[in-house]
Symmetry: C2
Subunit: 289 residues, 2 copies
């Protein structure tokens, strides 16, 4: 097991400092813990190169703006990730997390750190075996996002307890993950990934405007698939569409996995899996198994 | 300024240990911070006596059950609060927070602590001056709670970022707090308190089933008001009801404050304020000012 690496961005200049990942870092009154009040990003690092780092920094900045959160400058994040990379001694492929909270409740400053960790064994297993999913009502309509920005739909915040509860609900029902539906029956996203379906050489995923996180891995996959001859579009999807598709996948910065079944019904065989997986994993470790 | 007091419940027996509140307590990979994955409670302590402690322990246990979270036993929380009380050297009236997270992402154990803090100056000001509120769409229907338990409506979790964002939205519009409305126009709750309205000697607050936190202070207020000759009921309320009321208040374990205006319209004069405030603050410091 590779050892995690932790680098804190220490104010006021957010200078990167290596910390012991097993020792405490956050104060008891940090609103990251008390209120889930902060933003984060996760991405792969392969052979020392952070993948799509600029995209993740841009999305972190967007989340920070939605939260009114003062973030370290990009140069500070880059220096911190460089230091994590320099101290990493584990496998070729691992994950980095950027975390920023509003800091102690008494008035900051921002808490910021980068955590390098080995990939979870469950993730490696899902990549090879695919997952079983269930659908769960997310409780809001697909037109909510635009009219209620204070609900922070589409921001990647530290308040993820509902995503975790949805995953536990799926596991309690014998599945691996949940796909959220809007109250008007539109497919939204899985608990920690985007959903994409293939119909022949047509690749479809719901638009961000239905109230989901703008997925970086999805955007690249659609672009790359388009260059490889697919028609790749963002369009509303319903459950019946997923059940009629030739294949359905969950994609995030850490994985591209086939969804084998939905609410107990087998989904399309996903014959394009190897082709799409190769696109999704471009520039990282080759698919195993 | 009184100094905060921090006591950690240290596993496996959750023994209470005094910690320095200015030193770090949580690991960087604690899912309390990474995911807002945990539960909390806040309550008043007056002259060394925690107020409605048993009620808060019961609600914490309920939140823990909704989250599938292993909590310290009640005796451990009581011992920890006793130790905070014994170390408190500030004002007669202060607040205690119980916090429990699922612990480090690698697999726990539960992180648990009690934080004693002075009351925020803004809270003392609101008690005296009341607040201006705006209404904000909460994005879900008032019948959602029963059919989607995975959304954790009514659980007091550490994922409070939307509540914080709603309060910032209110402040950006020149108000102090937000009152959430369901998509079908029902009054839900304020960002960190319950809403109650008076119509003559009739006191009305929405039922918990609309998808709100079961408020301990509200329950006691309605019971005490009933004994003082009020008719006290849980019934759906609409914005027009609030605007027609003789007075509207926000109540939480830390405060009972009049809502002076809603979306810029003045609300009823709240002539019952002194009487209700005396009930709400029974057993604590007398109202100031």
């Amino acid at each position: 097991m590779s050892a995690p690496v932790l680098v804190e961005l220490v104010g006021p200049d957010f200078a990167p400092v290596v910390r012991d990942p097993a020792a405490p870092l956050l104060r008891a009154d940090d609103v990251g813990a008390l209120r889930g009040d902060g933003a984060f990003e996760r991405f792969l690092v392969y052979r020392g190169r952070p993948r799509r780092f600029a995209d993740h920094l841009a999305r972190l900045a967007r989340s920070g703006a939605m939260l009114g959160l003062a973030l370290p400058p990009e140069a500070a994040w880059r220096a911190a990730v460089d230091l994590v990379v320099a101290n990493w001694s584990g496998a070729d492929e691992w994950e980095a997390r950027l975390v920023a909270t509003r800091g102690p409740e008494s008035g900051g400053p921002t808490t910021a750190y980068v955590l390098g960790q080995p990939l979870a064994p469950s993730l490696l297993q899902q990549r090879q075996e695919g997952i079983a999913a269930i659908t769960l009502d997310r409780g809001f309509a697909s037109d909510l996002m635009g009219r209620a920005p204070w609900l922070l739909l589409g921001a990647k915040t530290l308040s993820y307890v509902v995503n975790m509860a949805a995953k536990r609900e799926a596991e309690a029902r014998g599945a691996d993950d949940a796909i959220f539906l809007s109250t008007d029956g539109q497919v939204l996203e899985a608990s920690t990934s985007a959903v994409v379906a293939a119909f022949g050489r047509r690749l479809v995923s719901p638009p961000d405007e239905v109230g989901i996180l703008p997925s970086i891995s999805l955007r690249h996959l659609l672009t790359d698939a388009g260059e490889a001859g697919w028609e790749a579009v963002r369009e509303p999807l319903k459950v019946d569409d997923l059940k009629a598709a030739d294949g359905v996948w969950a994609t995030s910065s850490l994985r591209f996995v086939r969804i084998r079944s939905l609410d107990g019904d087998p989904l399309g065989p996903g014959e394009a899996h190897a082709e799409l997986e190769a696109l999704a994993r471009r520039g990282t470790a080759p698919p195993q198994g």
